[in-house]
Symmetry: C2
Subunit: 199 residues, 2 copies
């Protein structure tokens, strides 16, 4: 297979799509974010990058708190709308029913199937004004219909995937296999044990 | 809708599934990673977290380079296998056809549809031995059949999604909408302009 160079781009597929909530001057604001990832499981942490100039940035820095709200595909229009418009110009708080959990400054969206309440634990300032915000998850919220065996269930959540390059949203397909089991099917004969070259 | 508490967990849905490559003592090693995200677009950066004790960690720290290889669903068995086994015990280099790009210490996998070549630019040590590695993308590689209009195309790539909680892999479904267009459908009558409360 002949490979071609596509240039230096952050081509991670797929990207998740979440709505980050924070208080800006005491008023809830929300921003659609795909530059998000899990940092670690214990203690539970996530990271988001917000580029310089976003209305939410100051809110997160000043309050030390934010929420991550995971919308489903039925919330596509409002999710896209949140990402198209700045809190500088419009009030996004009126779009949702808002609730609070343990923290009093991490506004969460009732309508999204899943909510993560985060305490800012570290801010990594990049040299162009952008910043990575690392949040420790204090609590998560959902409702019974999205939960199976104690955790949120992918097909019930019906989250939105994002492809920034093609300006497209996708949904999740079907289960294709089990983690830590599929690997057992690998033909062991193909595996040559040659840990280190002979010296 | 009544919300219930599910505890403090990093419930980001969906998670991507990639294979990170690095040289450990001069030999290519690979590890399956879902704790990955885009940091920013310009300059292009990604972040991954590797928990303490992984065989690849020293390789990334010493060489200052790593690769991100995005497998498709046909590579599910070997992708899961890579994640089930440590480079301490098995040679993973023999599983793939390996190539190098601009850097001479970021081994990439020919068989995966997409490869990101990364230079380590920052390591953030968490207080439990885990570390976040931030890589700047030097170049990306693919082949013509995965590319449309100059960038990798989601449906052709056919990437693997991961749900760590249900131990399940999923594929991508179908396109459900256009970014920066769906939001235009929002009923403007529902939006109340109330930027700040009257003082």
């Amino acid at each position: 297979m002949k490979k071609i160079k596509l240039g230096a781009h952050p081509y991670i597929y797929p990207m998740p799509t979440v709505i980050v909530g924070t208080l800006v001057d005491g008023i809830p604001n929300f921003i659609t974010v795909s530059y998000i990832g899990i940092v670690q499981h214990i203690p539970p942490m996530v990271s988001i990058t917000l580029i310089d100039g976003h209305y939410s940035n100051d809110g997160i820095k000043k309050t030390g708190a934010f929420s991550i709200n995971i919308p489903n595909t039925r919330m596509l229009v409002v999710t896209d709308y949140i990402g198209m418009n700045s809190g500088t110009n419009i009030d996004k708080a009126c779009l949702f029913d808002i609730f609070y959990g343990e923290l009093q400054n991490a506004p969460m969206i009732s309508e999204t199937p899943l909510n993560l309440e985060c305490k800012l634990v570290q801010t990594i300032n990049l040299n162009n004004g952008n910043a990575i915000y690392i949040g420790e998850i204090i609590e998560t919220y959902s409702s019974k219909k999205y939960v199976r065996r104690g955790y949120p269930y992918m097909k019930k959540l019906d989250p939105i995937l994002f492809s920034i390059n093609s300006h497209s949203y996708y949904n999740v397909g079907h289960r294709i296999g089990w983690a830590w089991k599929e690997g057992l099917k690998l033909d062991k004969k193909k595996i040559i044990k040659k840990l280190k070259p002979e010296i």
